[in-house]
Amino acid sequence: MANSLRAEVVQLYKTLLFLGREYPKGADYFRDRLRAAFAKNKDVSDPEKIKELISRGEFVVKELEALYYLRKYRALKKRYY
């Protein structure tokens, strides 16, 4: 029960790490904050709470994708109309 959630958490962490490589403020900045955020919630054991945190992480994934897309779109629109 907690094991399958553990796999999900690890997968979420890997996805965020992968996306964070292109973070505008620097990949290191993002990675430090990511580790701090995950370490802060290290001791949570209630599956409900874990699921809620996972969905919060997935929200951040979507936000990052939107951030990257908008950044690229705006830069290209400025250059190429």
Binding site: E65, Y69, K72, L76, Y80
Partner: protein, 254 residues
């Protein structure tokens, strides 16, 4: 109608990187600089994958020309949903002089060989800004072209393309097979997620040489020099209109 789409992707210097000119003025610094897929090519791949998801085409083939490193770009296209890749190996001196004419010859030969129905390209590459490859490919194949496409749809046996032109939007209907070049607002390219990248490692990338396709890649152009644009001069603030007129007369502009 084999339902095959060829998508051209180009490996260029990432759009967010600050470009530096080489000290000997022959080109731009490319060693150690972050490269990625041309943004317009990403939009082209996304459009092809969308067509496949709507079951309007059967297979999406990603094609790129260049040295070994372009395989990463082809893998990104495969991770976005292309079925297989073709790597046309061009390296060293030939790669430095590879231009739209040579690439469009390669594409024309590949389209005939793979019996493609549709070729989707990005409208231009952000490094050379040629905006020629799509048009040249269509001309070499004698296929109709829908360039600067902001919307592509199938209507019966033809392709309806909404083009972005200076005056607004132009809708044209062209016969298949055709060449389409993607503009910025065609779609929103998806982000290649880690599981898709893992799956893409299993997809095949075929290796082809231009000589196998019967294409001669020697260029008829020679780059004489590459320069940075002139530095922007600081502006000057003046107090009154008379000052402004005086300064303009000094500069010889009045």
């Amino acid at each position: 109608m084999s339902g095959r789409v060829l998508v051209g992707v180009k490996r260029v210097i990432d759009y967010a990187v600050k470009i530096r000119v080489k000290p000997d003025r022959t080109g731009v610094v490319t060693d150690g600089v972050k490269h990625s897929m041309n943004p317009f090519c990403e939009i082209a791949v996304e459009e092809a994958v969308k067509l496949k998801e709507k079951k309007l085409v059967k297979e999406v083939v990603a094609v790129s020309c260049g040295p070994q490193q372009v395989q990463e770009t082809i893998r990104t296209a495969l991770a976005m949903g292309a079925d297989r890749g073709i790597h046309v190996e061009v390296s060293g001196k030939d790669y430095e002089t590879l231009g739209p004419l040579q690439v469009s010859k390669i594409f024309a030969a590949l389209a005939k060989k793979e019996q493609a129905d549709l070729i989707i390209l990005g409208k231009q590459a952000i490094d050379d800004d040629c905006n020629q490859t799509g048009q040249m490919t269509a001309a070499l194949l004698d296929w109709p072209q829908g360039t600067f496409a902001s919307e592509v749809s199938f209507e019966a046996d033809k392709l309806k393309v909404v083009r972005e032109i200076d005056g607004g939007l132009e809708t044209i209907k062209i016969n298949l097979p055709a060449v389409v070049t993607a503009d910025l607002r065609l779609n929103t390219p998806r982000y290649a997620t880690l599981p898709n990248i893992m799956k893409a490692k299993k997809k095949k990338i075929a290796n082809v040489k231009p000589a196998d396709l019967g294409v001669d890649v020697c260029s008829r152009l020679e780059v004489l020099k590459v320069d940075e644009p002139p530095q922007r001069q600081a502006g000057v603030k003046v107090e009154t209109v008379e000052d402004l007129v005086g300064k303009l007369k000094e500069a010889g502009r009045v």
